[in-house]
Every structure is written in C-alpha cells, then in structure tokens.
Amino acid sequence: VDRERLDSPAPAIMPRAAPPRHHWVVRLTHWVNVVAFSLMVASGLRIFNAYPAFHRRGEGFCCWPLEGTPAPRWLTFGGWLAGARHWHFAMMWVLVATGLVYVGFLWLHGEWRDLVPRRGDLRDAWQMVRYYAFARRDHPRQGKHNALQKGAYFVMPFVGAEIVLSGLAIWKPVTLGWLTALLGGYVWARWWHFAGMLTLVLLAVGHVFMVLSTDPYSLRSMLGGGYDASLSPEARNARPFHHLLPRWRARAAEDRP
C-alpha cells in the first residue's frame, strides 16, 4: 500500500456549474418559434375564415366535418384577409429560418441523439401511459426526455416540414404545380396544410400542459438553461398536477421504497 498517497488530501473537487440543459441555440429557436408559430396559426386562421371550407366550387368534400364553420374570431390575427396574408407571408420566413437553424443545430451538435427513436421506445411510451393512468406506481426510468415526450419532439420537425411544403403548394399552385400535384391538388394541399397545423397545435398544447402541470422547473431550463435533476418528474415521481392531487396519492408516492 502506498501510504503516502493514502495520507495525502483528496484532490479538491471544484464546484462546477452544471452545463445548461438546453444549448442556447435551442433555447433561442424555441422562443422565437413560440412567437412565430403563434402568429402563423392565428393569421392562418384569419385567412382560413375567408373561405372556411375545403371543397372546390361545385363539389363536396369528404374529410372535414366542420366544412363551412369559421374559426372563432378571438383566435385570429391580422384584422382582415389582406392583413393576415401579409403577416403570414412575412412570418413564414422567420419560421422556416428558425426551423432550419434548429434542425441543423441538432444534426451538427449531436442533440438529435436525444430525440431519435430507439428500440424499446414504444414499450417505454406505453409504460408512461400506464404511469399517467395510475396503472403503474413508479415513474419509468428515462434519459433526457420520457418516451412520450421524445416521440412528440421527434415528430414535430417532420410535421413542420409537411406544413411548409403544403403551404408552398397553396401559395404557388401554378409555379410549383408539381408540388401541388404531389399533394393531390390544390384542395388537398389546403387540407394537408390545415391538418398539419392542427397536429402541431395539439402537440404544442399538450407540451405546454405537461410543462405547467408536471415539470414547471423545465420552464427555467428553457429560459436560463439551469435544471435541477433532483426536481425532475422522474425524481419527484410527478404526474400532471400531482401536487394538487389528494394527499393520499402523493404520500403513497413518497412512501415508496
């Protein structure tokens, strides 16, 4: 035994600031995207309200149950059709630019590894569903994101790309006629654009709900970057609004071995 080494004081552990949970590029594009996407949805709904239907004149349409029903005015932005179009066609560049920066960064910086689906993700996602449905007591183990979250974040850029392509097909149905034809014509391109928007809105609403109800600490990590892993939903065994649930629920979770 090397006595001298044993006696020497242990090397000091320098307190190091934890690396931010999200790179600043991700944080920046996230918030720019919040603004741009909200404006795109609201101005898009104002444009939609000028003809809140999909059918070609003189035909019917199979696949939208609310044909002819406009979106509520308070959800719209732009004031009138021309105003909404100007906002839509200006903000689209911001949205596309942020999207490209975000996806490009994920690719170059390796962050895509946190999002790309792996074998077992479906099983893990099912376990998350069981956990949220109180069919399972302990939060499943997870990496940076749980399997449901990961799936949602992975799908979002693809839905975004679909929205951009169908949007181009509506904007330029003649000069980009090949793209419009690929989507099944002008009527279907509008439908794809709308369906993609609905999908992204649902994902975003679910995302915001889960952040506020289950992992409010992640809000801080998306702002300043700091995140205390001991407060993660996995560590706290958190379900939506679990701090508001009847006490026996929470206590049962705290008492687990």
Binding site: A42, R46, I47, F48, A50, Y51, A53, R56, R57, G58, E59, R73, W74, L75, T76, F77, G78, G79, W80, L81, A82, G83, R85, H86, W87, F89, A90, W93, W171, K172, P173, V174, T175, L176, G177, A181, G184, G185, Y186, V187, R190, P216, Y217, R220, D228, L231, R236, H243, L244, A250
Partner: protein
C-alpha cells in the same frame, strides 16, 4: 376579459404556485416570475386578438411583401421551361353556376351601348399600333380554349373552361414596345383595374376571355370580355374589360391599392 377577472385568475395561479412551493423546494422565485410573465402574456394575447398588429410592423410587412414578390417572379421565370402551366386534377368538376360572380359597382355592370356607343377593347399605351377591337373582331383573332383553375384570394378555387385571345397575341398585334414592362387592365366596373407584370400578362394561359363554359359571358361573369388567368389570384383578373394599357411603370390596382398584394401570383 375584465381587469378583476384577470386579477382573480392571477390570484388563482398564485395560490397554485404557493402550494407547489410549500410542498417542494422553494428555490425558485416562481411566484413573481409567473405573475409577471403570465400578466404580460395575457395582456399581449388580449391586445393581439383579431388585430392587425402594431403600426411599426407594417413597414416590415411591406418589406417582406417586396422580397416575396422577387421570389415569386424568380419562381415564375425559372420554372419557365415551356412555362409552368396550370393543370386541373383529374376528376375535378366544373363549377358551372357555383362559380362565384362579383363586381364592385352596386348593380351588375352592363355596357350601355346607347349612351357609350358600341363596346370595343382598346389596346393602348407603349404600343406601335394602338387597337380598338369590337367583340366580333376579338372573336376572329386566334382563339384559345382552356379548362383551368380559378384561384381566389379567399382560398377557394373553381374550374371552368374559357374561350378567348391570349394577351400575348394582343401584344403582338398592337406591337408592344420593349420598354413596356407592365400592363394595366381597366374596366367599366366603377373604375376597377389591376396592373400586371409583363411576364404574367404574356403567360400562355393569360387570356382576354369572352366565353365561359360554352357560352358568351353573361353580365354577372364580366361581359362582354374579361381577363382570365390561373397564374394570378382572381382579383387580378379584371372583368368588364375596356382597356389594355402597356406601361413602363406599374399602376397599382383596385385591391392592390386597398392593401392586397400587388403581385398576387399563384
């Protein structure tokens, strides 16, 4: 939403956060953050609902419109191999009487031959041989028949078959000069007009139409002649046409002057 409601909502958020804090690590000043952030967000949302946005943004929007126009013209030029053509998807039905009709005058504009003399289409401006074409002279010119989409700025489209003369043909007939870069299409519908870039006007599917779905145009659809093209949004296609003027500069238009995009291309 009234101020007291908002205050009550914020108090509720506060109470929820307080509960969160007492049960978990109170390291964060979430209460203040949520109050300030939530308040700002709610105010912004309330202010934004159905509004046109801040006045300062209008300059940015106009800038974006000019940039977009350059992209649109570039696209039109670079997919020009034999020109990008509008195609009607197989199975699409003709709109027929469901084709919306509209005009800006209070009543359907009708050419009053007794007061104004016989109708004729005037081709003027930067041309070597100005023309006045009566309807029968127009019909005798090389005829184009096309079944195309009509794209409205509102978002609908309609399929119809139009008969007419290509604007390209009219430009050749009148001898449009090289310095003509724009074309203004004027009407007797209360001064309605829209000016076009030359490229779109000379597109092979841009025609001065006098018949639709096998009949001469009715007054509701722009009789005696109207402009029609799938390469522009409907409002650019002047109905109740009287004059085609070749110009060196653009001349705005009825809806373009009221805030819609001047280019309005598809």
């Amino acid at each position: 939403v009234s101020a007291p409601t908002l205050a009550r909502a914020l108090r509720l958020v506060d109470a929820a956060v307080a509960r969160l804090e007492t049960r978990e690590a109170p390291a964060l000043d979430r209460r203040r953050f949520l109050r300030a952030g939530g308040g700002a967000l709610a105010t912004a949302l309330l202010a934004a609902c159905n509004a046109q946005g801040p006045a300062g943004a209008q300059a940015v929007l106009r800038f974006a419109e000019r940039r977009n126009e350059r992209v649109e013209r570039w696209l039109l030029r670079h997919t020009r191999m034999g020109a990008p053509l509008d195609r009607v998807p197989g199975g699409a039905r003709d709109a027929g009487m469901s084709f919306p009709s509209y005009h800006i005058a209070r009543v359907v504009p009708r050419w009053d031959a007794a007061a104004r003399g016989p109708w004729a289409l005037e081709i003027a401006g930067l041309v070597d041989r100005p023309q006045r074409l009566a309807l029968d002279a127009l019909v005798r010119l090389p005829q184009t028949q096309q079944r195309v989409n009509h794209y409205c700025v509102e978002g609908w489209n309609a399929v119809a078959t139009f008969w007419g003369v290509r604007v390209r043909e009219l430009a050749r007939l009148a001898g449009a000069r090289p310095e003509a870069r724009y074309v203004d299409f004027q009407s007797f519908d209360d001064g309605y007009h829209e000016s076009w870039d030359l490229e779109s006007a000379l597109h092979p599917q841009t025609i001065v139409a006098y018949a639709k779905d096998g009949r001469f145009l009715s007054p509701a659809y722009g009789a005696p002649a109207r402009l029609h093209s799938p390469v522009k949004l409907g409002y650019k296609s002047t109905k109740y046409l009287t004059r085609v003027v070749f110009m060196a500069e653009r001349n705005g238009g009825y809806w373009s002057d009221r805030g819609y995009e001047w280019f309005g291309g598809t």
